[in-house]
């Protein structure tokens, strides 16, 4: 499969206003390829640079060193900036701070208005996006009447209206209640499955990462692990060392293994865990 995002030797430092202070290096050499249609989770605890990495993908931040290419466009190419942002949409943590309009459908149309999409086309895309996230009935509501999960779905609709090839979500569920989280995750997975949109999900919830195709673990500005979820989570000790937890079932399997049971370390779902333990008892 073709790569949609290519990150090569990415370094990034925040310049400090105080000239005597050294610039703070947030990203220290990242190489990452993301394939078309992939669903990738980026894990890491606070301050590891995962949000900074996300902001490089659609040129909100530009690399101090190295290159970021999205669908063949270098993020440093200013002439293709809007082209780039249209292809790589971004959803942020706080749903309230990314909704611009007081009417749901107008907010979904915001990007299209900016891009100068003609009315008929805009109307069609807005309605389709709202239907895709299941918020069509709320199109004339005010965002303040919606729950957190609904607002976040509206924000996602606003992005998919641009018909992007890839969506980067920066902890989209961190401020939501469990119900809202479920709604948002189901929506993202559906976008990935049905429309083939590449998803980069930045999160610190392990269970969210467990459902992805691939997990990238970051620590102190570097990629430390990059594999399928089962392989990543089986490295319980390494994850714990950098301050991350593993899904509960994986930890259970790991503890059982330590206690001498013959159980696979690559268990990430409840179902797998139940089956493995039943098998253990049967033996």
């Amino acid at each position: 499969m073709e790569n949609i995002i290519e990150i090569r030797g990415l370094h990034f430092s925040y310049e400090s206003d105080d000239e005597e202070k050294k610039p703070v290096e947030v990203l220290k050499g990242i190489d990452l390829d993301i394939k078309k249609g992939e669903f990738v989770a980026v894990l890491g605890h606070n301050g590891c640079g995962k949000s900074t990495l996300a902001k490089h993908i659609n040129a909100i931040l530009l690399p101090t060193e190295g290159t970021v290419t999205v669908d063949g466009i270098d993020t440093k190419d200013e002439e293709k900036l809007f082209d780039l942002r249209q292809r790589a949409g971004m959803v942020f943590q706080n749903p309230d701070n990314q909704i611009v309009s007081s009417i749901v459908e107008e907010d979904v149309a915001f990007a299209l208005e900016n891009l100068g999409v003609p009315y008929e086309e805009m109307r069609r895309r807005v309605d389709e996006s709202l239907k895709a996230v299941g918020m069509y009935e709320y199109r004339l509501h005010s965002p303040s009447q919606l729950s957190g999960g609904q607002k976040q779905r509206v924000a996602i609709a606003g992005i998919i209206a641009m018909e992007p090839k890839c969506i980067i979500l920066d902890e989209p569920t961190a401020m939501l209640d469990p119900q809202g989280r479920k709604e948002v995750l189901a929506t993202i997975h559906r976008m990935n499955r049905e429309q083939g949109i590449t998803i980069v999900l930045i999160t610190h919830y392990m269970d969210e990462a467990a459902d992805c195709d691939r997990v990238v673990v970051m620590d102190k500005g570097m990629v430390v692990l990059d594999d399928v979820p089962a392989k990543v989570f089986s490295q319980v000790e390494k994850l714990k060392a950098i301050g991350l937890d593993v899904p509960q079932v994986t930890e259970l399997a790991w503890e059982l293994r330590k206690a001498g049971c013959d159980i696979s370390p690559e268990i990430i779902s409840e179902g797998e865990c139940v089956a493995a333990i039943q098998k253990l008892f049967a033996d």
Binding site: M90, D96, Q98, R123, P143, S144
Partner: protein
């Protein structure tokens, strides 16, 4: 408690007045104000009153709401009346005591001015009662758009207005939260002397401002991510289409204005 505050007080509805094109409504309101101020006799005011109450009836919003809109300006009305009463020196003196002199002309002008202002308030309330703030902003942007030629930032102003409107409920909610948090730590906001309350208000305003700036920063990033680059080359989802009824309403208003002008010449 803060949640009850509404800006512009819009009463959703589906009357003919609600359905008028907001651009026409603004123009009509301006003509209406001109109409009230050209007439200098009671007969002109009577015509204005017929127009005002006719429009209010059509809007199907209870008349009570319009009297309510006058209430906050009661003191202003009284002052206007008083000034006209005291400083009008023409006409026959009705009452004279030391330096206070009240003439029949003065009484006449005061009554006239009060009626005129009451009509003005009621008529312009009709605009905000029947048009949602966001529609109003949109209409203002479109009406002012010719000013873009002289580099007047029409789009930017409208964008600021609509973002402000969007964030009013969010910030009110936030204020509520901060107030509870500060009360829980013993800040006296509802009780205590005026100075203590004023001082404690700072403990609400500071976090509120900090959070508002943070929101502004995040919103700006989110807008950039959605390709925002000012008003240039923008298309709109909200289409304003003028219907025959808009032209009819405008025509009727012009007719009333003409009537007032003719009447003020005659009398």
């Amino acid at each position: 408690m803060l949640r009850d505050i509404t800006i512009g007080q819009y009463f959703p509805g589906n009357s003919i007045i609600h359905r008028l094109d907001p651009r026409f409504k603004i123009v009509i309101t301006i003509l209406y104000i001109v109409m009230l101020f050209t007439g200098s006799s009671y007969i002109c005011l009577a015509v204005g009153a017929v127009y005002t109450f006719g429009a209010i009836l059509l809007s199907r919003i209870p008349l009570k709401m319009f009297f309510k809109s006058v209430k906050p300006l009661f003191i202003f009305l009284m002052i206007t009346a008083l000034i006209n009463l005291l400083f009008m020196s023409r006409g026959n003196v009705l009452f004279h005591w030391k330096f206070i002199k009240i003439t029949d002309e003065g009484v006449n002008t005061s009554v006239f001015m009060v009626i005129r202002i009451v009509l003005l308030i009621m008529g312009s309330s009709l605009l905000t009662y029947t048009t949602s703030p966001i529609t109003l902003t949109d209409a203002i942007e479109r009406l002012l758009s010719p000013l873009r030629k002289i580099k007047f930032p029409v789009h930017e102003l409208a964008m600021m207005m609509s973002i402000a409107l969007r964030f009013i409920p969010t910030l009110i909610e936030e204020t509520d939260k901060i107030m509870s948090a500060q009360k829980a730590r013993g800040a006296e906001i509802d009780t205590g002397s005026f100075t203590t309350r004023a001082k404690n208000l700072i403990s609400i305003l500071v976090p509120l401002f900090i959070s508002a700036f943070r929101r502004a920063d995040e919103l700006a990033t989110a807008m950039e991510c959605r390709c925002y680059h000012g008003g240039e080359g923008r298309t709109r989802l909200r289409q304003l289409k003028s219907a025959p009824r808009d032209y009819i309403a405008l025509g009727i208003t012009i007719l009333f204005l003409a009537a007032v002008i003719v009447l003020s010449r005659l009398f």
